[in-house]
């Protein structure tokens, strides 16, 4: 039996797709939201660290699974090796209803206004495709606000002189600092820095029918047991479904966007929950499958006018993949600094984001989420014994006496750091798999080292008796912060979509996820992906009113 034609197919029920589905469904379009994963709950996973989305030696609890999904990764010697979702070289992002917004740490950052015009600010950077966004911070500001109010953000920018300009306050008050935060706040002030509470997509008070946070130790990497953490799965997706205009189809893997000989998308092919190939037609298609999987799907959607994949005649789909060059330091303290008040991360400084002389970019510095016992077993100064009595002593002595300060260094986009589809290897369904290659720009390493110094300085001022740094290397596999593979831009020669996420080459295919980012900011990207969801979704709804995309 043929599937009923819909106005819009939205592929991927994560941050971008969840929001777009809601925007379109409430505007009256018939929407199919299609997701390769399924619903997850805290009860299914509990507080099991070994299958969380943070440390996943056994499996990625929130998907993707190892039985259907694999990729090829560079072996560093010119060859390729097969990797599975719970290998670090795979670069996983959760595959479920809500995707990363189920299991993330929920930091709710707006990018800095400067992030939208980096090339203007810093000039061209050799070896990088750095460019300005085709939209400004001011244009995106109302959409940031919409994300903050519809999903729910707790924050207070009073003490942050570098906060991106906002028209209205956060909808909920900020979280208090845990004991790490209190210690770090005093030290930061002594150093002349400007500490403030991290804005969080997490309820500090009851909001939108969901309760306040109970401050679990297991937050990042886990679902929330009380739904205090906002994801698309407990906010906008239920709203979309309630309209009656949106169907959510889970456990369905999209293999291809069907593009006809006139260069229009006519729908998709996908494998349903029983692994049976199905066709679904639509008036338009929105791809929100994450930077790597969105690029993969476009590259796998070959047609007579687009033999290199949908929207890829200029060869830019899959290029410029970015993540964050995480950097920072650990400090050991003489006294206990741990109070078991989750999620741990609570305090930040913006002083090193675009504010270091002669330095391009930068990043926010925050205290880390709680390091769980297994994760902590690998956190040691270099040269430490990794087993035996010394290792166990360290674990006992320092679990409650250490603080980590880390930050996401903004990566310079590199054209040859990219997602391709493998010419040979196929996944469980026979769909060509992702392969990722390329190296970070030298600037990322330089800034990473500098920021690690700042983190170490902060910890020393806070009274750390021993400190050590962790700095980024050249190799990386973009995972939960992946972005940049379908860059938006005004010039069709050097970008994949226009400023509204619409493919330059195929006007009824849109992208709405981190793929659009021209750069990835010095912050966790979730709120920006959500804001772009509102931006793209709102624009599609407007266009629909006029032409019905015919």
């Amino acid at each position: 039996m043929a599937n009923k034609h819909v106005n819009a197919i939205v592929i991927g029920a994560g941050a971008g797709g969840g929001v777009v589905a809601k925007e379109l469904a409430t505007a009256g379009l018939s929407v199919l939201l299609i997701e390769r994963g399924r619903w997850h709950t805290f009860d299914e996973h509990g507080d099991d660290e070994l299958t969380s989305q943070r440390t996943f030696p056994l499996k990625c609890g929130y998907g993707p699974d190892n039985e259907h999904n694999w990729r090829m990764a560079s072996d560093g010697k010119g060859g390729w090796i097969k990797v599975f979702p719970n290998d670090w070289a795979y670069g996983n992002n959760a595959a479920c209803v809500g995707s990363g917004t189920v299991s993330y740490g929920a930091m709710a950052w707006r990018f800095q206004p400067a992030d939208f015009h980096l090339k203007t600010k810093y000039g061209a950077v050799p070896g990088s495709t750095l460019d300005d966004w085709p939209l400004t911070y001011d244009e995106l500001e109302p959409f940031y606000e919409k994300a903050e109010y519809e999903l729910g953000v707790s924050g207070d920018p009073t003490n942050d002189p570098f906060v991106p300009p906002r028209k209205n306050p956060y909808p909920m008050p900020a979280f208090s600092f845990n004991s790490e935060g209190i210690i770090l706040e005093k030290a930061a002030k002594r150093l002349g820095l400007h500490p403030f509470p991290i804005p969080m997509l997490r309820n500090s008070v009851p909001y939108n029918g969901r309760p306040a946070c109970i401050r679990m130790r297991t937050c990042v990497g886990f679902a929330c047991p009380v739904n205090a953490k906002a994801g698309t799965q407990n906010t906008v997706i239920p709203v979309a479904l309630k309209t009656g205009n949106c169907e959510l189809r889970i456990n369905c893997m999209v293999s291809e966007i069907i593009v006809d000989d006139k260069g229009k998308a006519r729908g998709i092919n996908y494998f349903d929950a029983d692994n049976k190939l199905q066709e679904q037609t639509s008036d338009l298609v929105v791809v929100s499958a994450s930077a790597s999987e969105t690029a993969r799907l476009l590259l796998n959607s070959k047609s007579s006018l687009f033999p290199k994949g949908a929207g890829n005649n200029n060869g830019w789909v899959g290029r410029n993949i970015q993540d964050h060059a995480y950097t920072g330091a650990y400090g050991l303290f003489a006294d206990k600094v741990y109070d078991d008040v989750g999620p741990g991360a609570c305090i930040a400084v913006n002083d090193f984001n675009h504010r270091m002389p002669d330095i391009i970019g930068g990043g926010v510095l925050c205290n880390e989420f709680i390091r769980m016992p297994y994760q902590f077993s690998s956190i040691r100064p270099s040269g430490s014994r990794m087993w035996g009595k010394d290792h166990k002593d360290f674990q006992k002595l320092n679990f409650k006496r250490h603080i980590a300060v880390h930050g996401p260094v903004q990566e310079m986009p590199v054209f040859d750091k990219m997602v391709e589809v493998d010419p040979v290897v196929k996944d469980f369904w026979g769909i060509p798999v992702v392969r990722i290659s390329g190296f970070r720009h030298d600037n990322d390493i330089k800034v990473g080292r500098l920021l690690a110094d700042k983190a170490e300085e902060w910890l020393k001022e806070a009274g750390a008796v021993q400190t050590w740094k962790s700095v980024p290397g050249k190799g990386s596999t973009p995972s939960q912060h992946q972005s940049g593979t379908c860059r938006m831009g005004n010039d069709p020669k050097t970008s994949v979509t226009n400023r509204y996420g619409q493919l330059h080459e195929i006007d009824n295919i849109f992208v709405a996820d981190g793929s659009l980012h021209v750069n990835n900011g010095g912050y966790n990207p979730a709120l920006t992906i959500l804001a772009l969801g509102y931006w793209v979704g709102g624009h599609i709804a407007e266009m629909w009113k006029g032409t019905h995309m015919k």
Binding site: G46, D48, K186, I214, V226, G388
Partner: protein, 200 residues
């Protein structure tokens, strides 16, 4: 299931799904008379116990052996780590032979400090390689080391960390009873940007 010809992939899926895992344990048990274990043999467990006890030794808290780390590893070899089975079988055998060649005794029978010295050499790559096939002694040791950390510090649902012993050792409430583990009101204090604590 109607289709009887499983592909290997489906087989693995089933195994990781748990149904066939029981079947395999049963088969293994039948072939080798009575075994408490799913994949490893009794003698292998004896050796593995001695190794995991070195990796996480007993002090004022129990070590890897008491915490059932070997059980954790055995359980994973039957499920998530099915692709490590051969590595364990060959690696443990090669390790045992090498130690006997060096010390004329089984590893388990050596004094604790001598065992430590052997593993230190193995970790550092300074270890006779003649009995080893596809895997290096150092790589084998690192695999057991990592799996031991998982078994000792991870959730007991996977067969290790008996009685949440590592959580007890670290002073963490266990199990983490949702919403019930808050003994002071620190976490409920409101953030006040103008408070003394917040620097003004």
């Amino acid at each position: 299931m109607i289709n009887q010809s499983f592909s290997r992939r489906e087989f693995v899926r089933l195994v990781t799904g748990g149904t066939a895992a029981v079947l395999i344990s049963f088969n293994t048990a039948c072939k080798n008379k009575i075994s408490r274990w799913r994949y490893l043999q009794e003698e292998e467990i004896g050796l593995l116990d001695a190794i995991v006890e070195q990796i996480i030794p007993t002090d004022d808290f129990p070590g890897g052996k008491w915490a059932n780390v070997s059980n954790y590893i055995d359980k994973q070899l039957d499920t998530y780590y099915i692709n490590h089975q051969v590595e364990y079988r060959d690696g443990l055998a090669a390790f045992e032979k090498t130690v006997i060649q060096l010390k004329s005794k089984k590893f388990e029978e050596l004094p604790f400090p001598e065992q430590t010295a052997i593993l230190e050499k193995m970790e550092g790559g300074d270890f006779p390689g003649e009995y080893w096939k596809a895997h290096s002694p150092a790589g084998f040791f690192d695999m057991i080391r990592q799996h031991s950390m998982q078994g000792f510090y991870g959730s007991p649902v996977h067969g290790g960390n008996r009685e949440y012993i590592s959580y007890h050792m670290l002073g963490l409430d266990y199990p983490n009873v949702i919403g019930q583990n808050r003994y002071n009101d620190l976490s409920w204090r409101k953030y006040n940007p103008n408070s003394v604590e917040n620097g003004k």
